[in-house]
Symmetry: C2
Subunit: 195 residues, 2 copies
DNA sequence: GTCTATAAAGGGATAGAC
DNA sequence: GTCTATCCCTTTATAGAC
């Protein structure tokens, strides 16, 4: 897909650092100097690992991030047996990762890059994040375990609720994020029981 | 509180435009040129209305935005009588406003401005957005209408779920945002029923 | 109130030394 | 692989004309 230098240890470090920063703050809010500083190298040195510049770096690590979420979510969800444990697995995965703010990505990051890349990433976000979780609700719906609500909406709601726990500043945390996540899953399950 | 030129019609237009752009895309992603372009004037002309520059503009309009939310939420919630209509009123208010992404604001915008202003805005966000909605859950909890869950968490969850509807791209909208909001409120209410 | 011109700093990108 | 030096464009901000 591209003509990068051979994948080295060092290149991985660059991608990991950039991935974390972009996921947390977004495209415009992160400069290449921020990335370089976090790595302890100079900004120009980044171009050895990422010759195509900032936007290409953003697209590459964002796609990677989404794919890792897809893999992590599918694996953990697949390994869980009940509806509740599947949702817990999904929530715990999301809590274990650097917060990736889907809302910001769609509203702010996507308008700052080329439209072609933006729609590619949007599609990837759809089937890497929304679909694996929507699937849970779809299956539970067809077997009558829960009401049949719009599954994409439910997946989006669950993701944004869990993501909002990641964004919550420490001093508002009366309980741990995992405990709150479980409460919210209980709320969802009770709220979706067939009436 | 500050030494702005007399509040004119023109200054209001500037603030409104800046407010909308900053709320949608965030501090770093909006340039003063973007604001000026949207107004049809030159970037330097902004300084007549906002002599203290970009950060001061951001802080002023973000505070204004939060205060308007506080007023709008409190008014609409106060005018509603039942638990459900209060939550609907809050959701409809949020849907009626330019999407203000709290998560992005906390994670990205706040680290880009001076820490003092950041913590001021954080506090304002807390009592302008979270508290009015948390209040609904608190009151409903004490009279036994719903389970007593962490009300701040519930408020945060509701806000982020509704905000995520604003961010949803048009082509994923199988139903209107208002319809989805009602479904989600139903889910919350069913999920919070005393067991 | 808005303009042009311009200073000053920031940020992306390239060239070439080591 | 990383550095320094440098280019160039963007962005913030100021000065002064109209």
């Amino acid at each position: 897909m591209s003509d990068q230098p051979p994948n080295s240890e060092a290149r991985e470090r660059v991608l990991n650092t950039a991935e974390k920063l972009f996921a947390e703050r977004g495209y415009k809010a992160v400069t290449l100097r921020d990335v370089a500083d976090a790595l302890g190298i100079k900004q120009a040195s980044l171009y050895y690992h990422v010759p195509h510049g900032k936007e290409a770096l953003f697209v590459e690590v964002t796609e990677r991030n989404l794919r890792r979420h897809q893999l992590g979510l599918k694996t953990l969800i697949g390994a869980a047996s009940s509806l509740r444990t599947k949702l817990s697995a999904a929530a715990n995965w999301l809590l274990s990762q650097p917060p990736m703010d889907l809302g910001r990505m769609l509203q702010s990051d996507m308008v700052a890059i080329t439209p072609e890349e933006a729609s590619r990433l949007e599609l990837i976000a759809y089937d890497a994040l929304l679909m694996p979780i929507a699937d849970i609700f779809i299956r539970a719906g067809v077997v009558g375990e829960i009401r049949q609500e719009n599954p994409i909406m439910l997946a989006g709601a669950l993701i944004s609720v869990i993501e909002s726990l990641c964004a919550l500043p420490e001093h508002y945390l009366t309980q741990s994020r995992h405990v709150m996540a479980e409460s919210l899953i209980t709320l969802f399950l009770d709220g979706l029981r067939v009436r």
